[in-house]
Symmetry: none
Amino acid sequence: MRETTLSLKERQRQQREELILQTAAEVLLEKGYHEMNMEEVAARVGIAKGTLYLHFPRKEDLVLALLEQQMQDILQSVHQAAIAPGSVRSRLECLLQISYTRMKGQRGRILYALFGAVELRPLLRERHHTLFEQFSTILERLIDEGKSSGEFDTAIPTSIMLHTFTSLLASYSFKRLILDDTVSPDELVRYVGQIFFRGVANPLHVSEA
Amino acid sequence: MRETTLSLKERQRQQREELILQTAAEVLLEKGYHEMNMEEVAARVGIAKGTLYLHFPRKEDLVLALLEQQMQDILQSVHQAAIAPGSVRSRLECLLQISYTRMKGQRGRILYALFGAVELRPLLRERHHTLFEQFSTILERLIDEGKSSGEFDTAIPTSIMLHTFTSLLASYSFKRLILDDTVSPDELVRYVGQIFFRGVANPLHVSEA
Amino acid sequence: MRETTLSLKERQRQQREELILQTAAEVLLEKGYHEMNMEEVAARVGIAKGTLYLHFPRKEDLVLALLEQQMQDILQSVHQAAIAPGSVRSRLECLLQISYTRMKGQRGRILYALFGAVELRPLLRERHHTLFEQFSTILERLIDEGKSSGEFDTAIPTSIMLHTFTSLLASYSFKRLILDDTVSPDELVRYVGQIFFRGVANPLHVSEA
Amino acid sequence: MRETTLSLKERQRQQREELILQTAAEVLLEKGYHEMNMEEVAARVGIAKGTLYLHFPRKEDLVLALLEQQMQDILQSVHQAAIAPGSVRSRLECLLQISYTRMKGQRGRILYALFGAVELRPLLRERHHTLFEQFSTILERLIDEGKSSGEFDTAIPTSIMLHTFTSLLASYSFKRLILDDTVSPDELVRYVGQIFFRGVANPLHVSEA
DNA sequence: CATGAATGAGTGTTCATTCAT
DNA sequence: TATGAATGAACACTCATTCAT
């Protein structure tokens, strides 16, 4: 019973923390890092400023937690996509799908807002770097697998493929396209997949598609 | 004679304005929009804060002028590339070349810094939209020309090609690659060109490359 | 039996209160009145902030209790010294001894820390005044005794002697000397005694020293 | 004429700075370092908070300037007293006179208020130390001169005399006595001088007093 | 009684903007 | 026209105090 009580409190605490993060994300998207002020975040959550500081002792911490959440979320997706069955192409398309779908939602745009604040860069860089390394490593392995299996053109360096893919995965242009409902995420995946995979295809390989 | 005097003054004024813009660009890149303060810009230019305000009555105006300049600059490049002789591919590759080369330089990074400041977006959006429309129009015509000439696959919608191209043109991933000297702009143009143009190539067309 | 239980509880309560006071004294010395925060005091004592407030409903009260304790402590010493046998000089030297020895210890420095906080003065003043009156009264009687017995020069007003003595008793300069181990309390007593008692000696009196 | 204009502005600036320092001193004495807030200082001076920060970029700087002013002031007095003609006793009495007279005025109490703020100590210590060293050096020389000339008892170490004198010079007890108008500075000098100089007198020397 | 989560008033500091000279 | 001193709104963060559990 003691345990239940504790975990109840703890659960409530985590629920509120999650609420704070969601709210902060909203404000961040509306106003950017600088215009987001702690008072307003607190007010929107419905708590006092002091309470907000109990959860996140610095504005930076709040924003860093947001970053962490997003990054973990993304890394998770990448992991799952990477270990899915099927061709490398299908797995990478799955990633495109996830990314484009997220663009419609709020969460997909937080990273943009965060990286916008130049003064946060030093802070973000380190954590971002670590996760980005993991992210890159997974994708590189996937691409190399595609090369080994004969799907991809071995003449194109893996790092080029990786960054080309990344450019298409996290593209501001596509984000606008999707937010304006000019294309659906599904369509976009189809077309971008078509272009990219034709582009990196092994010229000698007979695609099953 | 009155006119000459005026135009001399006017010329000096414009020279100073240009200097202000250059300086502002520097500071913007170093510190981002919020950390860039009017005092410092004025000091670096070597004028008083009040004088700075004679040229740009709000901080926003300064930054908007910077945006305008950059956009015009880009539009100019796009124009020139568009009317150059040669295949559509060669002309688009020329654009990639310009973009990647600019990434190494300061000026190419200003737009990133500007768009980073979420709170500027409403301001930027309008002007940006107009210029982006022009930019898009030119590229769309180019792409359509490529489709007509048989270079490009007509099955892929022009807007998709446009935004895919744009994603590769102004890619944060590539910017990092280039700033880290992992690839030269030239190499990058070659590889990205290869991937993109294979990707959008007309399957029936025999490339001259 | 009820009584015993209560007094047990009461004893525990007083023990804790004493612990709080000791801890508060430590923090006060380390950080001064303002930097001393209730949270830290509670944490160091090992109780919750709320519990601390059960004992001392305001920060001021805590600090006032500390003052009281110190003052009573000092008053006690003065009392004992005053009723000791021997010459007035020997009794006053005993007080010097006590004071200088205390300077090495923590407790002797608390009053300095407290009086340092100018904003506490109104609060301290009243209580301090009462106790200081008592303190003064005792010393004045002692000095007058010294005058009657022929030890001290009756031409010097008692209040002057008192405050001169007090200046030497609670001197910041001597505190530094002693904390830096430049002199030992014993030595200091000897020299200061020599100077002061020569200074106030009855010119006609043949000292026994 | 240019020069005159500049020096006029500069003079006004310094006048205001002096006004700020005076005001800050007042507030400091009334409320202590922590309760003194920049807003109020500015308001009392009749300027905006921002203007205050043009003169003193940190609260600390304001308070440090105050310290400097006081210390220089004191050092100045000590210097002048030290080089005055007459016996060492008369010169030291002159210092007592200055100190006790200052106690009536506001300025004499600022150092007490400043040293009260424990958190300022590290800041103050360094500067204070330097000046205190100078102060001590001058007084030590004076005391040694008194010993050489036969005025003072060579059996008492110079440092003891110095600190005893300092204790009497800057005594909180005497400050109260003077602020309460219990004694006049003049009287106090006479009595304290009598006590101290009898106390440190060379037993073999025939005083001219 | 004991707890510690919640509160919100208070304050140092920055900086875009104005305006008298 | 050019200046830069003056302004004051804005904001992160702290901490004494309260009170529901």
